[in-house]
C-alpha cells in the first residue's frame, strides 16, 4: 500500500466508518444476548454526529487547556497508530507507545474535569494501565520468534512459516485479552464501568465527546487490524474485504465474551490481567531458555 495522502485519507475514513459500524454491531449483539432488540448498528455513528453538532460546555472546575487538549490528542494518537501500523507497517513498539498514550489521555480526560466520577475513571485508568501495558510482553515473545518487531517483517515471517496464532497461543490469548479490555462493556472495563456514569468522559460533552468517539472507533479498528495482522497472517490483511469479514467475526466473538461476563472489581481486574501477563512472561522465559 503506497502512502500517498489520498490513501491515508481513504484509510482514515475507512477506519472510522468500519470501526463505528463494528462498535454498533457489538452493541447490537450484546443487546440480543440480553434479550433486547437493541439499537440499529449505525447507532454509534449517529451518536458521533449528534454530539458533533452540539455546543461545547466547559465545567467550571475544569483545568484548561488540558481539558481540550486530551480530546484532540486522543484522535491524533490513534490516527498516528493507524498510519504507523497499517500504512507504514512499522515497529510494534511504537504501537505500544501509542497505546500507552491512550491510557494517558484517559487519565487526563478524567482528572482535568474536576468531576468526582471522571476522577475515579482516571484513577482506574491508571490501574488498568498498570495491568494492560505488561500484556505487551507479547512483543518480546514475538521478537524472540521472528527476530523483528516491525510489522512488515512479521508479515513476511508468517507468509513463510504460517500463522503465529498456532505457534504462540498464549501470546495470542494475551493480546486478545487486550482487545477485550478495549471493547465496550468488557469485564476489564473498569475505566468506563457503569458504576461511575461513563468514566473518564463523564464531563466531556459536545464536540469534544464526538472527537473522543471518533478516536475510539479508529482505535477499535486499529487494534483489531493489528491482532489480525500479527497473529492470523498476511493473507487476511492483503485484501480489505477479507479483513472486514474477519473483523466482523472477531467482533461477534468479543461481543459474546463481553455480553456473558460480569464486570470485575478494579483490583481483581488488574490482578487477573497481571496473571495473564505473568503467563506470557513465563512463555517468554521458556522461549528465551529454549532458544538459547
Amino acid at each position: 500500500m503506497d502512502s500517498s495522502i489520498i490513501n491515508v485519507v481513504n484509510l482514515t475514513i475507512h477506519a472510522f466508518l468500519v470501526g463505528s459500524l463494528l462498535l454498533g454491531l457489538h452493541r447490537k449483539i450484546i443487546a440480543r444476548i440480553q434479550g433486547r432488540p437493541g439499537p440499529p448498528i449505525i447507532q454509534y455513528l449517529l451518536h458521533t454526529i449528534k454530539f458533533y453538532v452540539k455546543e461545547i460546555t466547559f465545567p467550571i472546575t475544569a483545568g484548561n487547556p488540558l481539558y481540550i487538549f486530551v480530546a484532540l490528542l486522543d484522535v491524533s494518537v490513534w490516527l498516528t497508530a493507524l498510519i504507523i501500523a497499517i500504512d507504514l507497517k512499522s515497529s510494534l513498539l511504537i504501537i505500544i507507545g501509542i497505546y500507552v498514550l491512550q491510557k494517558i489521555v484517559e487519565h487526563g480526560c478524567g482528572l482535568s474535569s474536576g468531576s468526582p466520577y471522571g476522577k475515579i475513571g482516571g484513577v482506574r485508568s491508571v490501574f488498568s494501565a498498570a495491568a494492560e501495558v505488561p500484556l505487551f510482553a507479547v512483543v518480546a515473545a514475538i521478537y524472540l520468534t521472528t527476530h523483528s518487531v516491525l510489522i512488515s517483517d512479521i508479515l513476511n515471517y508468517q507468509s513463510i512459516h504460517g500463522s503465529l496464532l498456532f505457534k504462540m497461543p498464549i501470546c495470542a490469548f494475551a493480546f486478545f485479552i487486550l482487545l477485550v479490555s478495549k471493547a465496550p462493556n468488557s469485564p476489564f472495563g473498569i475505566v468506563k464501568g457503569k458504576d461511575i456514569v461513563s468514566g473518564y468522559m463523564t464531563e466531556h460533552y459536545g464536540l469534544l465527546a464526538s472527537i473522543i468517539y471518533i478516536a475510539e472507533a479508529i482505535a477499535y479498528f486499529a487494534l483489531l487490524w493489528i491482532f489480525i495482522a500479527v497473529f492470523i497472517g498476511p493473507w487476511v490483511v492483503s485484501h480489505p474485504l477479507i479483513t472486514l469479514a474477519v473483523m466482523v467475526g472477531l467482533t461477534v466473538i468479543l461481543a459474546f465474551v463481553n455480553g456473558l461476563t460480569p464486570l470485575l472489581a478494579p483490583h481483581h481486574s488488574v490482578m487477573l490481567q497481571m496473571t495473564i501477563a505473568g503467563l506470557v512472561l513465563c512463555d517468554v522465559l521458556y522461549r528465551l531458555i529454549m532458544g538459547g
Partner: protein, 153 residues
C-alpha cells in the same frame, strides 16, 4: 476464588507494596547467588593492580601516565572518535597539585581530585551527562526537602 480475591485486595494496599516488592527482588536475587559471575578482562578505563602504585608515584593510585599539558594519558574509552582531547584532562595538574606532588608521596587522591585526573576525565568529559543528572537529582531532592520544611503547616 474468594481467597484469590482477598489476596488481590491485600496486595493493593500501599503499605504492603514495598514489602512485596522487596521480597520479590530478594527472590530474584537468589538466582544471583547460584550463578557464576565473571569479569570480562576487556574493560573500559582499566585500573592497574590495586595498591601496586603505592610509594612508587606521587599520584598513587591514580597515575595513568602522560605529561601535564603536553602528552595525553593512554586511556581506553568507548568512542575515542568523539573525544578529541581524550587523556589530556587526565594528564593535567593544577598548580596546587603540582606543588603538593613535589612534596610528598602520600597525597595522591588530593592531587588527582583537584581539577584534572582520571575521574574528572570520566565525570566531566567522557561521561559528563551522568554528572549533570546526579547533580540535578541532588538539586531536586534538596528542593523537595526545603519546600516541605518551610511549608509544614
Amino acid at each position: 476464588m474468594k481467597k484469590l480475591g482477598k489476596i488481590w485486595n491485600y496486595l493493593s494496599k500501599p503499605e504492603v507494596v514495598p514489602r512485596i516488592f522487596s521480597i520479590f527482588i530478594a527472590l530474584i536475587f537468589v538466582f544471583g547467588l547460584l550463578m557464576p559471575h565473571y569479569l570480562n578482562p576487556d574493560q573500559l578505563y582499566p585500573k592497574p593492580v590495586p595498591h601496586s602504585q603505592t610509594l612508587k608515584t606521587p599520584l598513587a593510585p591514580y597515575d595513568r601516565g602522560g605529561v601535564p599539558l603536553k602528552v595525553p594519558a593512554k586511556l581506553k574509552s568507548q568512542y575515542p572518535q568523539y573525544e578529541p582531547d581524550l587523556g589530556m584532562i587526565t594528564a593535567y595538574l593544577t598548580p596546587v597539585a603540582n606543588w603538593i606532588k613535589d612534596k610528598t608521596y602520600y597525597f595522591g587522591t588530593t592531587i588527582v581530585s583537584t581539577p584534572g585526573g582520571i575521574l574528572d576525565e570520566i565525570l566531566y568529559y567522557t561521561r559528563g551527562m551522568d554528572t549533570v543528572l546526579e547533580s540535578s537529582i541532588l538539586l531536586i531532592s534538596f528542593i523537595i526537602f526545603s519546600w516541605m520544611f518551610f511549608n509544614k503547616d
